[in-house]
Assembly symmetry: C2
Homo-oligomer: 162 residues x 2
């Protein structure tokens, strides 16, 4: 299975800079080995319609069972960063730094390319109302949808600036 | 103003491990200086009711204007990590690592203590339906609410495990 595409559901993620992303992955995971070997990975944003497939990827380890057929895979430039056709947003990442935490490897990737389905764009910008991302809450271990747009940033607070 | 409580709206955050959090803060910000000097900071989760105050903290720099009176402040153990009474969740953090990115300082903090308003708990666990957090989308610079609970994690995908 070592050469097959592998997918994992990641709970601990972060944004470092606008084009650098972190994954905090418990060292017990099979996927860590692949990222360390290939120095590439992809980030795939599943929609609420894919909640079962996403959760399945978090339940089953690639060590025991291939997850290559859960999604239809495509590749960009590096042939070691499989991406998911049914995800409206996929990001190809180059590993630039690994931080060794007690129980987790923190993989920091620079986004080399972003693949975006045109159907989720509004006037050329990603519209999260169309993406319908899955949000994860660790406290009660649950998946949530995105709600409503409340306000425009760097704008709604101006009225308090006296 | 250097000794006054200061608050900032942070766009780039991340979870490293369950008790370690990252802040990706552009080096131009005044707040970076305070975190570096004090080696402590707090994370405060505003609710959708505080969207104006939160945005205001992202518009105005503490370099030019004190933000000490935007919120009612309280302190835990370290007197250098002001927290917000009106936020249902506040986390006191100890700076454990700084990563130097081209335009951003990445501050990684270990959570030393979490202060949680009992009104947002359901059976002793933080209930995000009660927290009503503000979600931030960078693409179109907007604030969003949390939607509905879709499914239970490590559970809903089991039916695909054949």
């Amino acid at each position: 299975m070592d050469d097959a595409p592998n997918y994992a559901a990641i709970a601990h993620v972060g944004v470092m800079e606008p084009n650098a992303i972190s994954l905090g992955m418990n060292k017990i995971h099979y996927t860590n080995k692949g990222i360390m070997a290939n120095k590439t990975f992809s980030i795939n944003i599943p929609s609420t319609k894919q909640v079962k497939e996403t959760d399945y990827c978090g339940i089953v380890s690639g060590r025991n069972k291939s997850k290559a057929d859960v999604f239809k895979t495509f590749f960009g430039k590096p042939k070691t960063a499989p991406m998911i056709e049914d995800c409206s947003i996929n990001m190809e990442c180059k590993l630039i730094k690994t931080i060794n935490f007690p129980n987790h490897d923190i993989f920091i990737g620079k986004i080399a390319a972003t693949y975006c389905d045109e159907v989720v764009l509004t006037e050329g910008v990603v519209d999260f109302e169309k993406v319908q991302p899955i949000l994860f809450v660790m406290n009660d271990r649950s998946y949530w949808s995105l709600g409503k747009k409340l306000a425009v940033a760097w704008s709604v607070g101006k009225e308090l600036d006296k």
